[in-house]
Amino acid sequence: MTVLATRRRFIAGAAVVTLLPLDAARATPETLAAAIRAVTGDAPLRPGRVALDIPPLVENGNAVPLTVTVESPMTAADHVTAIHVFNEKNPQPHVFDARLGPRNGRALVRTRIKLADTQKVVAVAETSDGAFWSAGADVIVTIAACVEDPT
């Protein structure tokens, strides 16, 4: 056997143990769109004002750092009321739902999320005038090597 073939087998083995079980309930582009619509209702989703900062390529999908900031004066009259984050291919489309207001001073949320696969992440901000703004990003998730057997 060539060395390359050996390596391939090694990688294939490593990949198998990190795969999630194939699950009919996995979020798809349609469930992603439906989950967003459940938040926005009939209101249009406008691009802009939202900045979604997430690395384009991550070495492991178990903890992907993400920052959402929204351009807003955050005054009583004009502020962000909510920030929602969705994903395309995890088993469920919802990632989180944050409620904000003028007491925050700045519309910002940082957290770390799980991404089961290479996929799109979408952030939606709701403002006090009832408008919805959004930004999306594609994240490539590579797999860890030399993981341990789960059994």
Binding site: F10, I11, G13, V16, V58, E59, P65, D117, A145, E148
Partner: protein, 256 residues
């Protein structure tokens, strides 16, 4: 099966990248240097590094009186006295004839000084205490002891590192010496330096020891991992520390 096909595709470039030429300069790089900026930032920021949760718990354990002796680590040791300690283990403790790693040294104090049960390998308490002790050596150069008895231990470690084993007939050196810097699946093969242990591995979603890391590589090689208390780990660790002599300790690190 997206991940799998991606892994196979990337696997094909395993040998496509160029090997670093062996020059006079120090070409050693830590696993930290092989990570992307997002993970480097996660490690560098103590308010974001999840390993700091374990360090905090370790500090509480350090002060807790336990065992028949009803003594805390802090009753016998100052925090300052732990500086540089993690950078020189494995070592042979005074009066002993066998080397122990840092976890083994802490367990020696558990049994002989505190008169308590040893902590289980990879248990939360042992990892937390080790993380707290290791943090005191942050920024220190790795400095294995000059003890001449350690030469044989390191030689055994080097033998284990260079010997082919497992169903894939690979050696540690085949990856970490000959192919470091190249891609294996999506991961960059690091040179395999022990600068950051115990560390928070995203794959584990928790803190783990250098032993656990070595076990993962052994499983990846389709080799039977040694028992947790096996001397092989201590020998491998001693060799890895010698190989990394002078490199900077950055425990508790973050790795993918």
């Amino acid at each position: 099966m997206n991940k799998r096909s991606l892994a196979l595709a990337l696997g094909a470039v395993f040998f496509a990248s160029l090997a670093a030429a062996q020059g006079g300069a120090d070409r050693r790089r830590s696993g930290y240097q092989d990570m992307g900026p997002a993970l480097q930032k996660m490690q560098d920021d103590d308010t974001a590094n999840p390993a700091m949760l374990f360090v905090q718990a370790g500090e509480a354990l350090w002060k807790q009186k336990v065992g028949a002796a009803d003594k805390a680590c802090a009753d016998c040791h100052t925090t300052a006295s732990m500086k540089g300690v993690a950078a020189r283990y494995p070592a042979i403790p005074a009066g002993a004839d066998k080397p122990v790693d840092l976890e083994g040294r802490i367990n020696l104090c558990r049994t002989t000084q505190q008169k308590a049960e040893p902590l289980r390998p990879e248990s939360d308490d042992l990892l937390q205490l080790t993380a707290w002790v290791a943090l005191q050596s942050r920024g220190d150069p790795i400095a294995p002891p000059d003890d001449p008895r350690m030469a044989a231990v390191r030689a055994e470690g080097e033998r284990l590192f260079t010997e082919r084993q497992g169903q894939l007939n690979l050696s540690c050196a085949a990856c970490h010496d000959a192919n470091a810097g190249k891609k294996l699946g999506g991961a960059t093969i690091p040179q395999g330096h022990p600068t950051g242990y115990p560390l928070y591995r995203l794959e584990w979603q928790t803190l783990g020891s250098l032993k656990r890391r070595l076990r993962n590589c052994l499983i990846g090689m389709r080799a039977e991992p040694y028992d947790y208390n096996a001397p092989e780990y201590v020998a491998l660790e001693a060799y890895l520390m010698e190989r990394a002599r002078g490199m900077t300790m950055d425990a508790p690190a973050v790795r993918p």
